[in-house]
Each structure stands twice: as structure tokens, then as C-alpha cells.
Symmetry: C2
Subunit: 317 residues, 2 copies
């Protein structure tokens, strides 16, 4: 089959790929996929990935009870039998594989495979473009599973890229007063009830006080975390939504003195994200800056790495 | 009055000190005080402290309704009128002073002053030596206010100094299965139900797995935190009980991938600590390695900074 392949830091289109059938898994004919910054990092050599990348997709199930239906799929495939899997935390299974990221080929190809229980049927009203956003929106919803959110809470989301926008939406949906800090004032305007703040905490916060109950780091810049320490109120929470390939030098004393809580946050359950997209209150389609056919995957990766680009799609069909 | 004085990195005994009376505060005649690693840091210039150091004490109230009674005192004095003070979080008041640490003279002198509401009467059965441990034990109890503890939970306390021992005791009291990691196997033996692990996580954990639900960092070594990332299970918690004068270089990716929670933890309420000491289930007096009269404060600081010393007391009376 046709698909993209990453090996030794190179990305290329290949037309001679095949999938090794896995027991108890469902094949999916990929229709559309999204390029994520993790894909760009894998291309640069992150995690030594070798194989078909891609983990944001919508497609059609080819086997089993969902055959013929349009589906999205949770990207972590657990062993199914360990304690974590039994508690619904397959995404923390020690033996997990991760679609297009770890030990499992991804969605930048005509077909992929996932366990049946990873697949969710996409409501008819949802476009393919919107459905591709289920995975990143689920990552934003993960915050609401980890941190108690309440109306009136003051939060700042640092970084107004795609993930920052989705996090801001999820917080605002829970009644949180959200400030979106970034370089693109027009992006906050897409979201109802979210105010904009220029800059990525290069300088002091406008009121000069440690005023936020919650801060969400969505920049991928590891130097942002220690700067957030002075902008979150005592006993406040900082959520780390991004990883970086670079370590950061951090003085933790302010976080201890103010008794801050720092929460690492990664993939989320697809169900609330899919329901939110189906409700139609979030315009994700306007975040699509460009699209390329599968054969032009290298150009899609280049375009996705340009500053200011929110989302690049790959049309597989 | 007589007391110790820190200025420009020097510590000296002075006999000509006096306290400026503060409105609505109670004077306390200090009987006994403890030297803490924070005192040693202030001596090295931490926070640019200038004044009388010391914040662990037992004494006798000289004014007001508690006059003549033996007391210990919470070290953070809030403004009393801000939102945080009203919520009982005086220790996070933005205008707070801190006994012997910030903007307030401490207990290494014949007298100190604190707001009346900071003082707690010491039960008769408690010795002066034991009462001095109320402040550090309260800091250990703070963990139980911040992190849900449940029987059977697996925890590791890293660092078997005084604070590590007290944290291990508090966790064990809540039914947590505690491993105390440090260089002194005999210290874990003082605590019932606490097992010992050699070393401070220089190497892999014995089972080679990320097995702990909770880790408490009580070493003061900022390089310990990132090493703990691989020893705590996904969705687990790391409590930072110490600050360091040095920053650390940290790769946060493992903490994000495993969705760890990192909790800064500082001073705690005195009430549960005093009740625990009064119950007599914790032998703190055996932690006292040495004691010096107030005039020999410099020697007390030297002794407290020697490796392996748990607690040095200063006899003020």
C-alpha cells in the first residue's frame, strides 16, 4: 500500500508498504489525517521512530462489527490484561503500543490497524476534517479528568497554537475564566469568552500579581514552566501539555514555597471530545491552513513546521 | 536581650538585642529551640536574611490569655484580612512575615513575638525537647492535607534525615506502605512499619519497575526529582518537601508521558502535629544529637551542618 515512512531522520513516500496482520485488531481504510508537532519531532529523530508515522485520522473500518462505518481511534493500545488496562488506563499500560509513535505503524498510509475497542463511530453530521481533531481535542479534555475545574476559576493557557486553542475551549466550556497568552490576538477571538494576552510570558503578567488559579503550558518551550511559577497563585496548578526534546534548568524553590501542583497531561479519552465536536460549538475546520495528498507528505511536514500554521491535513483517499 | 544574629553571611551571639513591640502580638519567653537546615541556608546568605534566625521553639507566653502557659507557634504570620488568611491559609498570605526567616525576628533569642492566634498550648505530658519538633512534624503532616493518602498505597520517602523520618512516620500513620531510601538503615528501624532501602536513588529501584504511587523528596538535592520520574507509576505523585539553593536541569518529558503530579509542600498546621506528639507514638527525642547554650549558637550551627546529624537543640533558658 501507499504511505509515508520515517527512518533515520528522513521522511519519504513509499508505495510498497504492507501491514503485518495483528490478532484481534481491526483494519481501517484511512480517509484523512492530521500532522501534529509530535510527527515533526519523530521526523527529527525523537524516540528513534522507524515506520509509518501519524496518529490523527478518520477512516472507515474494514473488519468486524464496525465494518463500513466511519471511525476515529484512540492511539494507545494496551495489553488489555494488566491492572492499568482493567482500570481503563490503557494509555498508561507498560506494554502499550502507540499509533504512529511507538511500536505501531500510524495513519499516514492507506490502511492502519487498531484493536476494535479503540475505535469510535463518527456521527454522520461531523465532517472528515472536524473528525481528525478528535485526538488533539481529547488531549485537551484530559485536563478536565486530572484537575478539578469550577466556574469562575481564573486560568491562563500559554501558547495559542492548535493545542492551546483546544485547551482554552475545554476550560471555557467548564466555566473557567480563560486568558489565552500568545502572539495571535485573532485566535482568541475564535473562542467565546476567552480573552487574549500578548506574549508568552516573556514579561510580567499585566497585573503584576500571581493571579491565576491554573496555568496550562501549551508552547513546547521548556523555559516557560519556571516563568509560570510567579503567575500562579499559592496552591495553584500548572498543567504541562507538551513535551520538549530539550531539558530546562529550573529553580523549584518558588513552586515549593507557594505549594504549587504541576500536572503532566497527555492523551485523553476520545468520547467527550467526539461528543463536543458533534455538538458543533467549536469551529475546528477554520484551523485547517493547508492540505496535501499522501504523495506530498514531505511538503505537508514542511508546511506544518512553518511558524503560525495551526493544522495541515493529509488527504489519503 | 541575648540572642543570635545573622548579617552578611555571619552568625554571632549578641547580648544587646531588643524587639520592637508589635500591636496585637504576644511575647514568648523562649525555652528551647531547634536548628533547621533552613537556618543553615540563611547563614549562607539565602534570602538575604538579616536578623535573629530560628523558627522551631517551645517557650512560655508572657502576655494575654495564654500568659504563663507553655506554647509552640506557627511560624507564618498573615495579614489576617486577605482572602487567603480568611480561608485559613495565612501561610500563603502575600503580606506574611515568617518567624526567623522573612521580615520577622526568630527564636534564637530570649524572647520572640507572634500573633496570639499563632500560638498553641503544649500538653503537660510533652517534654520541651519533643515540643520543638512540632514545626517540622507539621511540615510532614502538610503532605496529608495536599495528597489523598490511603491504606496500601506504596510510597517511597527519599532522604532519611530528620524531615524524611517525620514524613515516613506521617505516611505510615495513614496506612501507607512506606519505604525510606537513605544511607542510614538504623533510622528506618525507629519507625514501625517502615522498610529501608539503601541509597538515594542513585541506581535503579530494586524491582526495576516504576512501582511507587507516591514519592516524597526530602533530600534537598535538586537532582533527585528527575530521577524519581522513573520510579513513580503513571498518574503517581511526587511531593517536593525541600528547596534547594541550586537549580536543576530537568527533562520533563517522562513526567508528562506518565502524567505525574508534582506537589510543592511546605509548612503545615500545628494542630495535628502537636496531637501526634502528645500521643507519644513517635520517638522524636532520640533524634536529638546534641545541644548547646544560646551563647554557643555558632557551634550549634556547625554541629547541625555535620553529615549524619539529625537535630541540634539550643537551650535558651
Amino acid at each position: 500500500m501507499r504511505g509515508l515512512w520515517i527512518e533515520d531522520g528522513t521522511l519519504e513516500f513509499r508505495s510498497n508498504l504492507s501491514l503485518e496482520p495483528r490478532a484481534n485488531e481491526c483494519r481501517v481504510q484511512v480517509r484523512r489525517a492530521g500532522v501534529c508537532s509530535t510527527d515533526l519531532a519523530l521526523h527529527r529523530g525523537y524516540m528513534g521512530f522507524r515506520g509509518i508515522p501519524g496518529h490523527e485520522f478518520v477512516g472507515v473500518a474494514l473488519d468486524g462489527p464496525l465494518k463500513g462505518q466511519r471511525v476515529v481511534g484512540e492511539i494507545n493500545a494496551g495489553c488489555g490484561s494488566c491492572d492499568r488496562c482493567k482500570r481503563g488506563l490503557e494509555r498508561h499500560c507498560a506494554s502499550r503500543t502507540v499509533l504512529g509513535i511507538f511500536q505501531r505503524h500510524g495513519c499516514f498510509a492507506e490502511q492502519l490497524q487498531l484493536p476494535l475497542q479503540n475505535l469510535l463511530v463518527v456521527p454522520d453530521a461531523l465532517t472528515d476534517d472536524a473528525a481528525v481533531f478528535t485526538e488533539p481535542l481529547a488531549a485537551a479534555f484530559e485536563i478536565s479528568e486530572q484537575v478539578p475545574l469550577s466556574p469562575g476559576m481564573q486560568a491562563v493557557v500559554v501558547g495559542d497554537g492548535r493545542l492551546g486553542l483546544l485547551c482554552a475551549h475545554v476550560l471555557a466550556k467548564h466555566g473557567v475564566e480563560v486568558t489565552l497568552a500568545g502572539r495571535h490576538p485573532e485566535r482568541a477571538e475564535r473562542l467565546s469568552g476567552v480573552r487574549h494576552l500578548s506574549g508568552l510570558f516573556e514579561a510580567e503578567s499585566p497585573d503584576g500579581d500571581s493571579s491565576y488559579d491554573l496555568a496550562v503550558e501549551a508552547t513546547g518551550d521548556p523555559t516557560v514552566l519556571p516563568r509560570l511559577f510567579t503567575h500562579v497563585c499559592p496552591r495553584g496548578t500548572i498543567v504541562l501539555k507538551t513535551t520538549s526534546e530539550q531539558p530546562a534548568t529550573i529553580d523549584f524553590a518558588p513552586a515549593v514555597i507557594d505549594e504549587l501542583t504541576i500536572v503532566g497531561s497527555r492523551c485523553g479519552r476520545f468520547e467527550p471530545a467526539l461528543a463536543e465536536l458533534a455538538a458543533g460549538t467549536l469551529d475546528v475546520e477554520s484551523m485547517v491552513d493547508d492540505r496535501f495528498p499522501l504523495e506530498s507528505g514531505a511538503r505537508a511536514f514542511e508546511r506544518a513546521s512553518e511558524p503560525g500554521v495551526l493544522k495541515v491535513l493529509i488527504d489519503v483517499e
